[in-house]
């Protein structure tokens, strides 16, 4: 057996340990890279050739990502739920603050002040200051009600805008993944594991899973196909696009559709679904409840007011509020212009009569809502409590979901993340192996020296 075989073996060992060290170096370099999966050089003994059967040393069989695909699946499933609850919790948090409870200046306080202003007027129907106070508290209440309505609707508009942005992002990610698929496929053919490209694709998938619930399949050729509600977003190197289409039947809010056939895209979880729930279901029902509340006050106060008489004892049949609900309620312009029109009296020509003011103040206790079972305040209290409870619960679910994600990500990291100490140990291992291999070359060199120069 030729002595050069040993030299070759040692040479191969040097190169292999060096290459393995390069992998370690790559890992250390990407210590802080988000989405990076640590790589491992798989070393393999080279089978013996010839006689005697002494092995041919070592070579790198492959460099592979250390990744647990099941954890990816779990993480992405939970990401969608987290995304949905997070955007809903954000929206509800803003909605609940808009009511201004329990602080002074909240709807409750303004309503209470309004009815109490009528009681003050009942104490002094002849005094113009008392009339002004009724008009002023009525205006404050009206404007605050309008503000709540506007804020709720602004939250819907905001959700709508964000749906459009997210649809753009889905398209971008889809195209990116399709392009990556194509590159990965090409590299795979040449025997490259395309680890770093796969990392980038996995990171894109992580983000996509927050936006929408997805189903995905990894093919043998290294590509991944992605489906949203059974429809392919990405198939190999082709990505299908979504677009937003204003729906006239829904305040011109966007429908999300597939470009291919204009059919509606379905989302059962993720940020887009959370936003659609807020925009189309949750907020509208809260707006409707709030408007029911305001509309009842407007109707009731107007009915009693119109039956009474103004300070001149003649003016009657006037509404106190103009508008119908929180979208447009205001103190009637005629009354603002002429406070004497305020109908404090039930009887004509009775300036000292304040029984109509009493009757309006009494509306505060009337159970005219929820089929005659709730006063304004009880109804509104229920509305606030429901909103508060929903805001709290949704936030709690989002937070527990975030905790779960952190945990799963921890597991994933424990498989895929880089541990510096581990890499250092590997480094020492490869370094020692490299040193040993070079020692062998020296020894063989000495052997050859013996043979060539000293053996006469």
């Amino acid at each position: 057996m030729a002595i050069s075989v040993g030299l070759n073996t040692a040479m191969r060992a040097l190169l292999t340990q060096q290459a393995a060290m390069d992998v370690t170096s790559h890992n250390v370099a990407n210590l802080n890279t988000i989405g990076y999966t640590r790589q491992r050089a798989h070393l393999e003994a080279v089978s013996p050739v010839g006689m005697p059967p002494v092995g041919g040393g070592v070579e790198i069989q492959s460099v592979e990502r250390v990744r647990d695909l099941f954890m990816d699946l779990q993480l992405r499933m939970e990401s969608s739920a987290e995304g949905s609850f997070r955007v809903q919790a954000d929206s509800l948090a803003l909605a609940e603050v808009s009511l201004g409870e329990p602080n002074e200046g909240g709807i409750r306080q303004l309503m209470s002040s309004f009815f109490n202003a009528w009681r003050d007027l009942a104490n002094a129907p002849e005094e113009s200051a008392a009339r002004q106070a009724v008009i002023q508290t009525g205006s404050s209440f009206s404007l605050a009600a309008q503000r709540v309505d506007r804020t709720f609707n602004a939250l819907r508009d905001d959700a709508n805008d964000r749906v459009a942005l997210l649809v753009d992002e889905v398209n971008t990610i889809g195209s990116e993944i399709a392009a990556l698929n194509s590159q990965i496929m090409t590299l795979r053919v040449t025997g490259d594991a395309a680890s770093d490209l796969t990392d980038r694709r996995d990171l894109a998938l992580d983000r996509l899973a927050q936006i929408s619930d997805i189903h995905y399949v990894e093919r043998d050729n290294g590509t991944v196909d992605i489906y949203i509600a059974g429809r392919a977003l990405v198939s190999g190197n082709v990505s299908n696009q979504l677009y937003v289409d204003p729906d006239i039947a829904n305040s011109n809010y966007f429908d999300v559709k597939w470009t291919a056939d204009n059919s509606l895209a379905q989302f059962s979880s993720g940020e887009i679904q959370g936003l659609l729930i807020q925009r189309d279901t949750d907020l509208p029902s809260r707006i409707a409840d709030f408007n029911t509340f305001v509309a009842q006050i407007v109707t009731d106060v107007n009915a009693v007011h119109a039956a009474g008489f103004g300070a001149d004892g003649i003016a009657t049949g006037n509404n106190f509020f103009s508008g119908t609900d929180a979208t447009d309620v205001l103190v009637d312009a005629a009354i603002v212009a002429a406070p004497t029109l305020l109908a404090a009296a039930t009887l004509p020509a009775a300036p000292g009569d304040s029984s109509n003011a009493h009757a309006i103040a009494d509306l505060q206790f009337a159970q005219n809502l929820s089929a005659g079972t709730q006063s304004y305040e009880a109804f509104y209290g229920g509305l606030v409590t429901t909103l508060g409870t929903d805001a709290r619960d949704t936030r709690a679910v989002a937070e527990s979901q975030q905790l779960l994600l952190a945990q799963i990500d921890g597991f994933r990291q424990s498989v895929s993340g880089v541990n510096l100490d581990e890499e250092m140990v590997q480094m020492v291992q490869y370094q020692r192996a490299y040193e040993a291999a070079s020692q062998i070359i020296r020894k063989i060199d000495e052997m050859l020296d013996q043979l060539i120069n000293r053996t006469i």
Binding site: E101, G352, A361, E377, V384, G388, G410, V418, L420
Partner: protein
């Protein structure tokens, strides 16, 4: 379990963030003194305090109404007191006028004084306060009593109405009437005094004698009306006591739900501060421990 460099960093950052958030919330509670700053802080507590706050507003309103009612009643009471004194004096004069030894001239003299008292009584009936005529029913803008011949009326006409003026002083529409309408009480007094004046001027001793009885009956009615007012003022006082008691309960209910317990918040603050420091300490130590320190 393998620990990756990134997950250590992420976990530590998460712990610091959580610690800071918790600390911030306690600081906020301490600064504002409030446990509930938005509905989701305690939705059910909030619904209780919302109702309690409205009840407190109402209680304050009713207490204000009671003050107004007491002013109204006090004013009427004082005026009826004046009217009573006036009738007392009229009765004395009538008794004097019924004396058989009196000459016609002397009776006319007394009649003159009755006439002056009548004018004064009409002025009391036309009392106003803050531009409101008190005994005019709902016609608070007009003097309710009009003499057919000013200064020497043969009849005093009531141009007010029977309108009731009420103040809401408690829950369930509890109201008290604060005005006496002139028609019943005052008209009787005026016609009695007119009759007495005329009888004195006519030197009709027997009629004057009868008139003295009529004045006495009027006086009884005034005393009775004052008694009514007294009863109403007591009712208002009882309502006020009840509201004040209730207000204390409402205040403590609201405070219980909404206001942060200072001691509790301070302990929380201390605990959360300690937790955050522990997290920071962990960062300082964990991130600095590396095999690199030993490979030389």
């Amino acid at each position: 379990m393998r620990i990756s460099h990134q997950s250590v960093a992420q976990r530590l950052m998460r712990e610091i963030a959580t610690g800071q958030q918790a600390l911030f919330e306690t600081q906020e509670q301490l600064a504002s003194g409030k446990k509930i700053s938005k509905p989701s802080d305690d939705p059910f507590g909030l619904s209780r305090t919302l109702a309690a706050r409205s009840d407190r507003d109402l209680s304050a309103q009713w207490q204000r109404n009671i003050t107004v009612a007491e002013d109204d009643l006090g004013l009427s009471e004082a005026l009826l007191g004046n009217l009573g004194d006036l009738l007392q004096r009229s009765q004395e004069l009538a008794t004097q006028g019924a004396n058989g030894a009196l000459t016609g001239d002397a009776r006319q003299q007394i009649g003159l004084e009755i006439s002056r008292l009548l004018t004064e009584a009409v002025a009391i009936g036309n009392s106003s306060f803050g531009g409101r005529y008190l005994f005019a029913g709902h016609q608070t803008g007009t003097p309710p009593f009009v003499e057919d011949i000013p200064g020497a009326p043969t009849v005093v006409n009531y141009v007010g109405d029977a309108g009731s003026i009420e103040r809401e002083i408690g829950p369930g529409g509890e109201r008290i009437r604060v005005n006496i309408t002139g028609a019943g009480l005052f008209n009787g007094i005026y016609s009695t005094l007119i009759q007495l004046r005329d009888d004195l001027n006519a030197n009709d001793q027997a009629a004057v004698n009868l008139g003295s009885g009529a004045v006495s009956a009027d006086l009884d009615r005034v005393i009775e009306a004052r008694g009514d007012i007294g009863a109403k003022m007591r009712q208002a006082g009882v309502a006020r006591d009840r509201l004040e008691d209730g207000e204390l309960r409402l205040q403590s209910l609201i405070a219980g739900f909404e206001e942060a317990d200072l001691a509790e918040s301070l302990v929380d603050l201390q605990m959360r501060d300690t937790a955050l420091n522990a997290a920071l300490g962990a960062v300082a130590r964990t991130l600095n421990t590396s095999l690199l320190d030993f490979l030389r």
